[in-house]
């Protein structure tokens, strides 16, 4: 269908350029849109704890990438938020296991906002005094996540599945670990991981490649840079579990549970397997599956029960989380269903429909400037384009899923995490209100 191909190519088209500095720039002009969303991302996240920079070995406490993200908004002239306030841009940032992203959306003064972003990330400034100041706020953030049952399930499962991989540690670290951060550590991280050749600049919306390149030029990103000699250091991680089971108590109304399966790490850039695993999960316990329907109708879990793939360098696992009064029964039903699908093969109709859904999702993510830039940046960090993802998806077959299932979701590599109510959470009496302004 050549006409269809052309519509798709046009919609998914983005412009790529690798600058002499090594920075990858991706732009998707979106006619008719008022805003532009820009993401400046580095392949540096919470798992990057041990590395060699030139001849020096660096070992970081947990939470440095996230701490650095906070401190990046501050320089000798003051706070970058204050500078964004002068352009009207709405700025933010986030840190994940394997990346840190700085972003803004602007409808006016895009050039000025780009300069604020590129300068703040390009010219870091840290002192012990400003580091000490930040510890209070980040400590509060850590405590906020400590109260989230969903997040505790994820971190608890990672602690069970892994012996030494840094995915075991919370992205934000602990109050104790961040207390040991020094300016020297932060500068080392910037030198190692904020080099342009480790970064991606993605922009989507009311802009052009020329406009983005001009900003790069103004900020010295067109000049060649000597490549930093950085080597990430990984400790050996056996395929055994660190623990089979873990239970904690929290102020929740109902018990929560998680099941984690440790899988072989995927090669860097292998987004195909990740997509295939997603489709397998959709077949086993997605909304169209028999298992989901049984769990739903019998009230065994909450409607949000489902699986997800967590994959970073040196680590790949599949996590199922939900709430249940009978977590062990749910676990057994899930294991039985995995065994059945492994023996019989995935349901062909459901597999095709799951692919349909993924295709629709990829198209949807090209629709607004935020999703569009995020999707481009995500794929670019793995060296791929959206168009390649659509092609990869089209090429996936049910037989691929059957073959993969012989290797993944093995019971001997499964850990269980329970969160039991501590008895302080009473049943709510409640009303809800919409917030507007």
């Amino acid at each position: 269908m050549p006409e269809k191909q052309s519509v798709l190519e046009q919609t998914a088209a983005d412009q790529w350029k690798v600058l002499p500095s090594g920075l990858t720039v991706i732009v998707r002009p979106m006619p008719g849109y008022s805003g532009t969303h820009v993401i400046y991302a580095t392949r540096f996240g919470s798992i990057d704890r041990d590395f060699r920079l030139d001849d020096k070995e660096v070992h970081l406490p947990a939470g440095v990438a996230h701490f650095l993200e906070h401190k990046m908004f501050e320089d000798q002239d003051g706070d970058a938020f204050a500078k964004f306030a002068k352009t009207g841009a709405n700025a933010n940032a986030f840190t994940a296991f394997d990346r840190t992203c700085y972003l803004f959306t602007a409808t006016e003064q895009l050039d000025e906002s780009l300069d604020v972003l590129l300068e703040m990330v390009g010219k870091p400034y840290f002192t012990q005094q400003t580091i000490d100041k930040e510890q209070g706020i980040i400590g509060q953030e850590i405590k906020m996540y400590d109260d989230s049952a969903d997040w505790r399930l994820i971190t608890g499962l990672c602690e069970c599945l892994y012996h030494s991989h840094p995915i075991r540690s919370d992205i934000a670290g602990t109050c104790e670990s961040i207390a040991t951060i020094t300016p020297g550590m932060l500068y080392d991280c910037c030198k190692a991981f904020y080099a342009p050749n480790n970064m991606v600049l993605a922009a989507a919306g009311n802009t052009t490649m020329e406009q983005i390149l001009a900003a790069c030029e103004r900020n010295g990103l067109m000049e060649p840079r000597p490549a930093e000699r950085v080597q990430r250091l990984w400790r050996d991680e056996p395929m055994t579990l660190a623990a089979k089971e873990k239970t904690i108590r929290m102020p929740v109304a109902k018990p929560c549970f998680g099941l984690g399966f440790k899988e072989e790490p995927l090669p860097s850039g292998d987004l195909r397997s990740e997509m295939l695993y997603d489709l397998i999960l959709c077949c086993i316990c997605g909304g169209m599956s028999k298992l989901y329907r049984r769990l739903y109708d019998e009230g065994l879990t909450n409607p949000g029960f489902g699986g997800e793939v967590l994959r970073v360098d040196g680590c790949c696992c599949i996590l199922f989380t939900g709430e249940s009064d009978a977590p062990d029964a749910v676990r057994q039903l899930l294991l039985d269903e995995i065994a059945r699908v492994r023996a019989e093969g995935v349901d062909r109709e459901i597999f095709t429909l799951c692919k349909n859904e993924k295709y629709g999702q990829l198209i949807e993510n090209l629709e607004n400037v935020e999703d569009s830039a995020s999707q481009m940046a995500d794929f670019a960090l793995a060296g791929q384009t959206v168009a390649q993802q659509i092609t990869t998806l089209a090429g996936l077959k049910a037989e691929d899923a059957d073959a993969a299932l012989q290797q993944i979701l093995r019971e001997e590599r499964m850990a269980t995490m329970y969160i039991q109510p501590d008895g302080t959470a009473v049943l709510p009496e409640d009303d809800g209100e919409e917030e507007e302004a």
Binding site: T11, K143, V252, Y296, N302, C354, T424
Partner: protein, 427 residues
């Protein structure tokens, strides 16, 4: 966005929104909330979303949506002050992206109308089996709300704040009533909605002929209903009162604080621009006083923000704080408000906030959700419907005194704290 009345109490809002990859058909039903039917109306969306007459089975409906490239069918109920709003919406990729040339938009419209007007009945009521399953889901959802402490704190504060007023009807349902609810009662609530609701059909991203077809199909459905639209509840405000301080004990790592303020009288639509700027200045942005002073300077909390609800003329300040700092945070929140009311406001901070709001308004028509939310809120608020451009112009005219007038009118009614330390939480 074009808007026209197509029948008494029924409007069509339409925007071809050509730049988007998806289109959206939504049908909003708005009616005054009632205490006696609140739980039935809370259950209604869950049962309606499971299936409808032409596709009664939940799993088959999920497959149908997947066939439509993962189209999203949502039946969503939410409080709008003293009114209740149920929205049936279908959003999906446009026909041009269908790999086999399927007429997707037509199917989206059929799905939305089928779900709204042809629910799956066994005999004369919703299917009892489906009702029973969804009752369990509603119970679970109500029981689980305590897991999200920030939301829970805000809702507990709301209960104290609104009391028995119409805006205090718990529209997500009353836990103790769920078990006893029958399929008959649910069906009655559904028919009450069809009969009494103001209806807004919103069609985004469709051509003129497609929109006309959806409109006519809706009118055809409504011709089968004996309609008697009820007037919607007007904007209200809780009367001023002596502040109530409440503490609830939980063994959490972080304490949560929610402070609710009343405007004392209903917000007028003409005040909205000043309210927006007042919120941005006080606690609704990263250049606000609460963010810069309470969070960044005093390090009292990870988040501390304000938001305003125009239907109820109320402002909420939510904060996550150290248990030991809750009283200090509460004091700081009040001090920042007092400083804005009586102290200097610099031109720079006012213009920073205004610029940020203007920028956000310029971009809100970049998403389907942004367009729909903007215009539908304008409809519900009453008064003339402002486009984002008109709202921008109004915002440009707001002065410091306008902002102060809003903030000075806000007085504290309720301060609610979730903490593990009893007795030392309030200022």
């Amino acid at each position: 966005m074009k808007r026209m009345e197509i029948a008494p109490g029924v409007h069509l809002s339409w925007d071809p929104a050509q730049k988007f990859n998806r289109c959206r058909v939504s049908i909003h039903f708005a009616l005054p909330a009632k205490r006696e039917t609140a739980t039935a109306h809370a259950l209604l969306p869950l049962v309606m979303e499971r299936g409808y007459a032409d596709c009664p089975d939940m799993t088959q409906l999920t497959k149908k949506l997947a066939r439509l490239y993962g189209a999203d069918l949502t039946v969503d109920a939410r409080p709008m002050g003293a009114n209740h709003n149920l929205c049936v919406s279908v959003t999906g990729i446009k026909d041009q992206f269908a790999l086999e040339g399927e007429p997707l938009t037509r199917e989206y419209a059929e799905l939305a109308l089928g779900t709204a007007f042809h629910p799956y009945f066994v005999g004369e009521t919703f299917a009892p089996d489906a009702v029973n399953i969804e009752k369990q889901m509603l119970k679970k959802a109500l029981e689980d709300e305590v897991n999200e402490k920030r939301l829970y704190c805000q809702r507990q504060a709301n209960r104290e704040f609104f009391g028995d007023s119409p805006a205090g009807v718990r529209q997500e349902g009353y836990l103790e009533e769920v078990e006893g609810l029958t399929a008959r009662q649910l069906t009655d609530a559904y028919y009450e909605m069809l009969r009494a609701a103001s209806i807004e059909l919103i069609v985004l991203g469709c051509g003129e002929a497609q929109t006309e077809a959806v409109k006519n199909a809706l009118l055809e459905e409504l011709s089968q209903v004996e309609r008697a639209p009820a007037a919607l509840a007007e904007n209200m405000a809780m009367p001023r009162r002596e502040p109530l301080y409440k503490t609830e004990t939980f063994d959490t790592t972080q304490a949560k604080l929610c402070m609710l303020f009343t405007l004392g009288q209903p917000m007028q639509p003409r005040q909205l621009a000043a309210v927006r700027l007042a919120m941005a200045l006080y606690g609704g942005s990263v250049t606000s006083r609460l963010f810069l002073n309470v969070r960044e300077r005093d390090h009292l909390c990870y988040y501390c923000s304000s938001s305003f609800q125009s239907f109820t003329g109320s402002m909420a300040v939510n904060s996550g704080v150290e248990h030991a700092d809750a009283a200090r945070a509460e004091k700081a929140v009040l001090k920042e408000l007092a400083d804005l009311c009586d102290g200097p406001i610099t031109d720079e901070e006012l213009e920073d906030c205004r610029r940020s709001l203007l920028s956000g308004m310029t971009g809100l028509e970049d998403t389907l959700g942004g367009i729909e939310t903007w215009y539908y809120m304008e409809v519900l608020r009453g008064g003339p419907i402002q486009s984002p451009d008109e709202a921008r112009a109004a915002l440009c005219a707001v002065t410091k005194e306008d902002v102060r007038a809003i903030l000075r009118a806000l007085t504290l009614s309720v301060s609610y704290c979730l903490t593990r330390e009893e007795g030392s939480t309030h200022a």
